[in-house]
Symmetry: C2
Subunit: 218 residues, 2 copies
């Protein structure tokens, strides 16, 4: 498990202005929303958080990856305020550290190296998103759906015989993957028929073994 020490060693090294007590750690349960307090920025230490941009009834899920390198939540928006409402949902159990925005801004102003590290993290994140969609664009709807299931779930957290339920609706899948809902329906039916997924009460439900079948070679 990652801890605050990792965050300090890898992201806040050389920063003397703040210490552990500057952060508020908290856990988020699977499928719970991360309620953003405008006065804070957040650092994800463990787990996966999906970012939903709600524009014109579209649920654009931007970042559904396991965030490595202490991905920052709410920092990109400091530089590029969005017109869209953004919400964050924990896909797995998450460990998050909150830092007061004032403190964070002050830190960036005083410490040029830290400022640059923050910016480089944002470049990484944007190119990650770009690569994600570049990978997705040439896939069939069925492959996209498999990819969605695969990246939505971090199977390291699954026990061998545990079932995982994908909480997202078919509409969210469709919007996220750039297909229409009927194609998603068809793809899910076909995947269920070949036993790659189960559908229980309309929700995609998979085991660890099924999850491995969903990993698409990009």
């Amino acid at each position: 498990m990652l801890s605050i020490n990792h965050l300090f060693n890898e992201f806040f090294y050389g920063v003397t202005e703040i210490d552990e007590s500057s952060f508020t750690p908290f856990n988020i349960g699977r499928n719970d929303n991360l309620l953003i307090d405008e006065g804070f920025v957040y650092f994800l230490l463990e787990g996966t958080i999906a970012e939903y941009r709600h524009a014109h009834h579209q649920h654009q899920v931007i970042n559904v990856y396991r965030m490595h390198h202490f991905d920052q939540i709410g920092v990109y928006e400091l530089f590029y305020p969005s017109q869209n409402k953004i919400s964050y949902k924990a896909i797995t159990e998450c460990l998050v550290y909150a830092l007061a925005k004032d403190l964070f801004m002050e830190l960036m102003q005083k410490n040029h190296e830290f400022h640059q590290r923050v910016l480089i993290n944002l470049i990484n994140r944007q190119s990650f998103i770009a690569q994600h969609y570049i990978d997705l664009i040439s896939l069939s709807v069925k492959e996209r759906v498999k990819h969605f299931i695969s990246f939505t779930i971090d199977s390291r957290y699954l026990e061998q015989h545990e079932q995982f339920v994908v909480a997202d609706s078919h509409q969210v899948m469709a919007d996220t993957l750039g297909c229409n809902i009927r194609s998603v329906h068809r793809a899910l039916k076909s995947l269920a028929k070949e036993n790659t997924i189960d559908i229980v009460n309309g929700k995609v439900t998979i085991s660890k073994i099924q999850h491995q079948k969903c990993a698409v070679a990009l």
Copy 2:
């Protein structure tokens, strides 16, 4: 027309270490390659340059936009060296300014504000690419082909009755758009039938009026 003054006012402001004489300006003709000298970075002042990443026989055209805000060429690769061969081709006539890489690196080290501006430019560029593919993903092949034609050509440079030839092969279009070449063929045939494009000697050829028809509402 943009000039070196614009570059200084908008990108190099506050930079006292270099002046106009530090740059080597040059023009690139339409469809010519920008031959990268490893010792330089480049700033695009006028025109459109396409970036091709040659990976596994794929011509991934990453940036085919008109580059606003003095897009930097060869700077992203300083931070994130690519395993892929990258080549640059001028889509329109271009005006480019070259700056010695040593000088550029020194500038970034000495001038924190400039360094941050460079990084913010890279964040912009990556999110631009991400948004481009997010837009593309839900389009049909025909719409993607129209989009390709539309963003490949900057019709401001076209005279009313001038014909513009899209130099890219159908294969490059297919690779760029994430479809297979037969779908591209079909889409082009259909577009020619409805007079949105002409096909002359196998190449897409369009007038200014036809170009306007290609602009896809995303």
